[in-house]
């Protein structure tokens, strides 16, 4: 399939996904389930990578601050800015594209090849909407919380590393974390997080939904889903940064 056919099909697919749910109560229950599956189950990985990244950023900054004119609090400041601007939105987005994306693509893909999607359709259910809309809503809802968690944990990681390695004092670090905070940067990153959440759920769903064949094709679709949603995240990052920070 050519690139443009793919885009056309993706847009038609989204139109099917975003339609009125069959039963409100069932839909709501689905969303709760997906929040748990996509959000709560990702807390662990987000915490682990954020703590390590925060720690590494603080150490790198400290070891690069050789000029005595530069104040120590820059370590805390840099850690915070890196987490807020780029790490907790884009890098976490990329990692979730791997974890959540492959999970969604293989779940939907295996439902396709085992005819579970046909089973929904024959009942008169819009399978695309039933299976995928709740995932998108759940991720768009929960990922901002993951973002905030990542920022918080990352800064804590940076603080702990600084303290343990003795690079800068705790009060200096904390002062750096508080200094010159621009709230708009958080809004900018939250907007990115929302867009990434949409990409991470809708793109893998798309690849899973149109699988045909067997287990092998499901695996291939899952790989494609992760690669393409990662590329889309990087692209969206570039565009949103130009639009929002100009």
């Amino acid at each position: 399939m050519s690139f443009f056919e793919n885009i056309g099909q993706y847009i038609l697919f989204l139109k099917r996904v975003v339609s009125k749910p069959e039963k409100g109560r069932v839909f709501f229950a689905q969303i709760i389930k997906e929040i748990y599956k996509l959000g709560v189950n990702s807390v662990g990985i987000v915490v682990i990578i954020s703590v390590f990244m925060g720690a590494v950023i603080s150490l790198q900054t400290a070891y690069n601050l050789v000029n005595p004119l530069l104040p120590d609090y820059l370590v805390g400041y840099t850690t915070r800015e890196s987490m807020i601007l780029e790490f907790s939105s884009t890098i976490v987005g990329l990692i979730l594209a791997g974890k959540v994306g492959s999970n969604i693509a293989s779940e939907i893909g295996s439902m396709r090849v085992t005819e579970q999607i046909d089973a929904l359709e024959i009942m008169g259910i819009n399978s695309a909407s039933y299976l995928i809309f709740p995932k998108i809503i759940a991720a768009v809802f929960i990922n901002p919380f993951l973002y905030v968690l990542s920022v918080f944990v990352g800064i804590t990681g940076g603080l702990m590393a600084s303290y343990m390695a003795g690079t800068v004092s705790v009060p200096d670090f904390i002062y750096g974390v508080q200094v010159d905070l621009i709230p708009y940067y958080i809004i900018y990153s939250l907007i990115k997080t929302l867009v990434f959440a949409f990409i991470i759920t809708s793109v893998p769903s798309f690849y899973g939904y149109y699988v045909s064949g067997g287990a092998l094709e499901v695996g291939k679709a899952s790989t494609k889903a992760v690669v393409n949603s990662s590329i889309l995240i990087l692209l969206a990052n570039l565009i949103l940064t130009q639009l929002l920070l100009k």
């Binding site: 039963k23 439902m111 085992t114 005819e115 046909d118 089973a119 359709e121 024959i122 009942m123 008169g124």
Partner: protein, 250 residues
Amino acid sequence: MITLKNINKSFGELDVLNDISIQFEAGKTNLIIGQSGSGKTVLLKSIIGLLDVDTGYIYYDDRDFTNMNFKDKKEIRKEMGMVFQGGALFDSLSVEENVKFPLDMFSAMSEDEKKERVSFCLDRVDIKKAHKLYPAEISGGMQKRVAIARAIALNPRYLFCDEPNSGLDPVTAIVIDQLIQEITKEYNMTTIINTHDMNSVMEIGEKILFINKGVKAWEGCSDEIFDTENQALNNFVFASNLFKKIKSKL
């Protein structure tokens, strides 16, 4: 009753179905038989509207399904039950949740009524103790039975089964066949079954459509199938040594 009139279906260059017309009757087990790749699944999926036909008409009793708008199609879908080749149970739901699913989506029943209906359907297919298990935890034969229970949950008028006993041992296969036939009679459903299994043909072939390379090659019932002059059908029926031997002894 389901009527097909001049059904044609192709995928690009590949002509899969060619001018198929037939009438499937209510209260009978209607079979579509033919070799693997002859177009049985495509025909069944066209009948239920999972695939669009290129030309031709499909009537559900007197209702023209082919030219129906989306909303009316959806209403008819609620009268259909389908048992897929692999069962197609939802693997994130337990056995009883699978059977309850169509009730949750489409019935106005209370929780108690739904529970009652679920046990009734599972009893009917002889599932006794597996209510809380998940599809991956039960045998292929049980999966098929649960799939039948799910298909009949909403009391359908039309039942479709794609190779309901593929992958099952001969004894279990016959149990499934008989179950489908009993249910068909009980509720006077129009049942259409895809199969390439000669045991099923003999057991429940009340009306048989034989398709060969996408063309209707023969129509009849199991009693007539042994005496046919049709070469393609003979090749299909007497493919195995077992049936060759039986024929030579007749």
